[in-house]
């Protein structure tokens, strides 16, 4: 396996097997030091990239981690759950203002100019322009990190794919080119992504989608997904490799290797279990 990637997202956004497991995990991973330690465990297992949806804790931990480890950050923007919560609490303008005020003065100037140039589309509530504006604000706040790839949050991605709308992906690719980094796609619907984007799919350095021997979360089914993966294995990275923790990490990774995929994303549970197993064994 050439690439192992650690997945980080706010612990509140994961599913857990019990309420007490949830509280334990959320309390633990709300500490930057614990996330830092998790990153270190993943690094020792060979992970050299971190796929992250950001909150303040994850941002702080990654800023510290990148000071002394050469790992790439793959940023997933925007944090849609936080944005939707803000929308409910503050309204669209309030949610945007909250993100804007977190920026540096130069970031504010850049976003301000961009807003002026797309004002008509913003007022029309254009989906691609709105999604990219919020993404831009989150990205601008990550300037202290070495971000090498950007992805849209799955909540945005799947809605755009359902609507067959390529505009937001084109905008993401253009944004990445301007920044000199690579765009990617995280999706549970890779076949739909291929159908919607056609040849444009090649503009995206990597497509991250569920892949495991049980076919778990592989939509529409395992066979169809594997056919797509085999058509360009170096283009795909596996997600949900342990099928919700029901397959041991080693067996899961062997399966990904057999398909020749470019890498595998490991969640915190898989990293903790693999690290403990290595220490124990």
């Amino acid at each position: 396996m050439s690439n192992l990637i650690l997945e980080l997202r706010p612990p509140e956004s994961h599913h857990y097997t019990s309420w007490s497991e949830r509280l334990d995990s959320v309390a633990r991973y709300s500490q930057p030091d614990e996330i830092h330690a998790l990153c270190e465990k993943a690094y020792s297992l060979g992970a050299r990239a971190i796929l992250a949806v950001f909150d303040e804790t994850i941002h702080e931990a990654l800023a510290a981690f990148q000071l002394w480890r050469d790992v790439a950050v793959w940023a997933v923007v925007p944090n849609m759950f936080a944005f939707i919560r803000d929308l409910t609490d503050r309204g669209l303008v309030g949610a945007a203002r909250a993100r804007f005020t977190r920026l540096t003065p130069s970031g504010m100037a850049r976003i301000g100019l961009r807003t002026m140039s797309t004002l008509g589309a913003i007022l029309r509530r254009d989906f691609a322009v709105g999604a990219m504006l919020v993404s831009d604000m989150e990205l601008a706040a990550l300037r202290d990190l070495r971000v090498s790839r950007i992805f849209l949050h799955p909540q945005v991605t799947e809605i755009a794919l359902a609507g067959g709308s390529a505009a937001v992906f084109t905008a993401l690719a253009a944004k990445a080119e301007r920044l000199g980094i690579n765009p990617g796609i995280v999706t549970h619907n890779p076949l739909r992504a291929a159908a919607v984007l056609g040849r444009e799919l090649r503009r995206f350095a990597v497509i991250i989608s569920p892949c495991n021997p049980k076919g778990y979360k592989m939509f529409p089914d395992r066979e169809a997904c594997e056919r797509l993966f085999r058509s360009a294995p170096a283009h795909f990275v596996a997600l949900e490799v342990t099928a919700g923790g029901t397959i041991a990490a080693e067996a899961a990774l062997a399966y990904i290797r057999s398909l020749g995929l470019a890498g595998a994303v490991l969640d915190f549970r898989t990293v903790e279990a693999a690290f403990a197993a290595r220490r124990g064994g």
């Binding site: 309420w19 949830r22 959320v26 609490d89 029309r124 989906f127 909540q155 709308s165 049980k214």
Partner: protein
């Protein structure tokens, strides 16, 4: 409707849920969106920018003048459901209504009565009941794996309300209530589906952040004799999405239903199941979903919900998630509020 023609559907109300249903109807191979209805017709550009094709009309009447849907998805704020249903049933259209069914039990029963009299297929949007793992738990109970079911404990928590909130969702008159009506109702629906009609409720509710109920505890007794406790709050830290759990005890064993798995403990072997502990994980269950519209919120359940509704429309039979079942949920919601207000038990006939 013939088998090979897509079901023509319209969506009334293009808020968050309306758009989700619009997308699913667009992508599902056996449906076609013929229009949207919303007072804010200026949202047309917004819908188009998401790839949602179909004209937007200001009223149901305008929709019916322009096109001929076979089914309507009602996704407007809860307090408008009854009047929207009345307008929709000026034609014989099948009905899908987002949860909760209404703001009051009387309105919910009026909606059911109208739909029944119109002899249309109907369903309610309690989406979690369509998760494969929830359906597997239902099947185990139906098969009698636990023997006679005696009791349960249940929780439904989310981190949503920690201070004053604005919007129709937090107005009792418009949303029908707070956490009980709008979050715990998902679990109440599942409880009703599992255990049958509700018979008695004793409950307390509290408003500690918003102006509606932010938390509640309810002791529920079903006509089947099953009793149990529900604890719910949308002011619990630690969970961005609804976290629910249900532990059911029977004479022959215990079933613990979580988001992705069932833990089963049987005192003696049952057909297909050994004695002792076993686990059924979501990844062990057959998947029949072609598109996941929302990976973190059980998007496959939305697809399966639509599948169930379309199949019901095709066959002219009521699905398990019919408005009749949703009325049982509404009776629980209503009884919880009545009991909390009176401080006493509420008996239902």
């Amino acid at each position: 409707m013939t088998e090979n023609r897509p079901l023509k559907a319209a969506v009334v109300g293009v808020g968050r849920m309306g758009m989700v249903h619009g997308h699913l109807l667009s992508i599902y191979p056996e449906t076609e969106v013929v229009g949207f209805v919303d007072l804010k017709t200026r949202l047309s550009d917004h819908l188009t920018s998401q790839g949602l094709r179909g004209p937007i009309y200001p009223t149901v009447g305008a929709l019916f003048t322009a096109t001929d849907p076979q089914a309507v998805f009602v996704c407007t704020p809860t307090h408008t459901h009854l009047s929207v249903v009345r307008k929709c049933l000026s034609r014989r259209v099948h009905l899908f209504i987002e949860k909760p069914l209404a703001t009051t039990r009387a309105d919910a029963e009026a909606i059911l009565r109208l739909a029944t009299e119109a002899q249309v297929v109907h369903a309610a949007g309690y989406v979690y009941a369509h998760l494969p793992v929830v359906q597997a738990a239902h099947d185990l109970l139906q098969q009698g794996v636990l023997g006679e079911v005696l009791r349960f404990t249940a929780h439904a928590y989310v981190s949503e309300v920690f201070g004053p909130k604005r919007g129709w969702f937090f107005q009792k008159e418009q949303a029908g209530g707070g956490v009980v009506a709008n979050m715990a109702s998902h679990l109440l629906f599942i409880l009703g589906w599992f255990f049958g009609p509700i018979r008695k409720v004793v409950a307390t509710t509290r408003s500690h952040a918003s102006t509606v109920d932010d938390s509640a505890q309810a002791l529920l007794t079903f006509a089947s004799g099953v009793t149990g406790l529900l604890d719910t709050s949308w002011s619990m830290p630690g969970t961005q999405m609804l976290d629910y759990g249900l532990t059911i005890s029977g004479r022959r064993g215990t079933l613990v239903l979580g988001r992705d798995r069932i833990l089963l403990h049987l005192l003696a072997p049952a057909p297909g199941h050994e004695a002792g502990w076993s686990q059924i994980h979501a990844s062990d269950l057959p998947a029949d979903t072609a598109f996941d519209v929302s990976p973190h919120i059980g998007g496959e359940a939305f697809y399966r919900q639509l599948q169930t509704f379309v199949k019901a429309c095709r066959t002219g039979t009521l699905p398990f998630c019919s408005l009749e079942e949703a009325c049982n949920t509404q009776r629980m919601i209503d009884a919880i509020y009545v009991s909390a207000a009176s401080g006493g038990p509420v008996e239902l006939s």
